[in-house]
């Protein structure tokens, strides 16, 4: 079981970090940094204003960056028939989705948290607030990763699935951004706790929702 887990995790990580022709882990990070770079141009060189709103901007950028990898989370393996072959071997979709969620978070969460450091410098956030942003991303990115895998499973095989996925992700991620960015305004840990709890809910639901969606997609 653990050997199989490692084999699948290693494959998923290689696919998601390198990504082949669909773009790897670097793409969402570059997008995230590009948004952070554009923001001061749009708002103007008003340091206090940037510092006050920058944290929220980082959260919006993270949410938008989470849309980019949606089309390569599930769809390529469905097209290849990988899920069918795994099903024949008695490997459940729930298990596969759990592994993929972990791999997706590894290729998405930590790189984004690293990129948040230069991004916060671009908008002039102080160290104390950066710490809160990082903690918030640590609590929120697992939820974003789970949501991404769930939506990718639901929209896999649909025409225009990628665009639809983006539209589905935004409203469902609203609680994450409300609590995550909200913790910056209040400076308290309650926002972080709520972000983390919503992430946990998503992590718990996703294997079942995504597994059912993949099975239903076979009909």
């Amino acid at each position: 079981m653990s050997g199989q887990f490692l084999t699948l995790l290693r494959r998923d990580c290689t696919q998601l970090f390198l990504g082949g022709r669909r773009g790897g882990a670097l793409l969402p990070v570059l997008f995230f940094l590009a948004v952070a770079m554009l923001y001061p141009f749009a708002v103007g060189p008003d340091a206090p204003l940037l510092g006050k709103t920058g944290g929220g901007m980082i959260w919006v950028a993270a949410l938008l960056a989470a849309i980019l990898p949606l089309d390569r989370l599930i769809e390529p393996d469905l097209e290849l028939g990988m899920f069918d072959q795994w099903a024949l071997r008695g490997i459940s979709e729930e298990w596969l989705v759990t592994v993929r969620m972990l791999a997706h978070w590894l290729s998405f969460g930590p790189p984004l948290m690293l990129a948040a450091i230069p991004a916060s410098a671009l908008v002039g956030i102080d160290a104390e607030k950066l710490w809160l942003v990082e903690l918030g991303l640590l609590a929120g990115t697992p939820g974003l990763a789970a949501l991404g895998v769930m939506i990718a499973s639901i929209t896999a095989g649909l025409r225009g699935g990628a665009a639809l996925g983006g539209l589905l992700l935004i409203p469902l991620a609203v609680p994450l951004i409300v609590f995550g960015a909200g913790s910056l305004a209040t400076g308290g840990t309650s926002g972080l706790a709520l972000t983390g709890s919503f992430s946990l809910v998503l992590l718990a639901i996703t294997p079942f929702a995504a597994g059912a969606a993949i099975r239903e997609g076979r009909r």
């Binding site: 022709r21 990988m82 024949l88 071997r89």
Partner: protein
């Protein structure tokens, strides 16, 4: 090889509004092979997917003893990886069984990324994946597509060997598949429309309207078993 068995009991398949076939039954024991024949769209691939448990049957059941191996039009090998590494993934999952790669003429292709392989080479690679799985029941959906004459003969040999060793093979193919003692199942014998002309009760087929669900359409006198010859 372990004892294996696959049996279909009164299977019906519905795609959209159409019943593709109904009342289909057969049973295969260790060492037996069956070819599903019929024109395009008659439901050969659907039947394979129902047997594989990947698609629910509209009615009827499938009994299975032994693990399943499936080869269909998708190779299930990572396209950007060299063939050797793509096959290695399945070897790690299935255990180290001989995947007959050399016999399938894949030995010199191991460094070539899967996406550069030709249709026939991909089919051979999928067969190597199947051999490495060491599953007693083989479900082959158009296994000869894209293969050259030598490849075709090789696949027939491998299927014959598999059956001699006690395995089961179900082959959906419109091409000739020479295998001593193989039964043939003509899917057109299980068309649900009584005249056998229309392809199901399609709403636009002009045939009989479909009976209400749960109305026990299977109580009609349906051909059962005549298709096996």
């Amino acid at each position: 090889m372990q004892e294996c068995r696959i049996a279909a009991n009164n299977l019906a398949c519905r795609r959209g509004d159409r019943l593709l076939f109904a009342g289909l039954s057969f049973a295969l024991e260790s060492g037996q092979a069956l070819q599903l024949v019929g024109s395009n769209g008659i439901g050969k691939s659907s039947l394979i997917r129902i047997l594989a448990g990947l698609m629910p049957a509209y009615s009827g059941t499938v009994e299975l003893a032994g693990s399943l191996g499936l080869v269909d039009e998708r190779p299930a090998l990572d396209p950007h990886l060299p063939l050797g590494k793509a096959l290695a993934l399945w070897q790690r999952i299935d255990g180290a069984h001989d995947n007959q790669a050399a016999r399938l003429g894949l030995a010199e292709l191991m460094d070539v990324p899967v996406r550069y392989l030709s249709t026939g080479q991909k089919k051979r690679a999928a067969l190597a994946r199947l051999c490495g799985q060491a599953a007693p029941v083989w479900l082959l959906d158009e296994p000869l597509n894209g293969l050259d004459t030598r490849g075709t003969a090789l696949v027939m040999d491998m299927v014959a060997e598999h059956c001699r060793e006690g395995g089961i093979a179900v082959i959906a193919s419109h091409q000739r598949f020479d295998l001593a003692g193989m039964a043939k199942l003509e899917l057109s014998a299980f068309l649900p429309s009584p005249s056998g002309k229309g392809r199901g009760w399609g709403l636009d087929a002009g045939g009989e309207p479909p009976p209400a669900e749960g109305d026990g359409w299977h109580r009609r006198p349906l051909p059962t078993g005549e298709g096996l010859r």
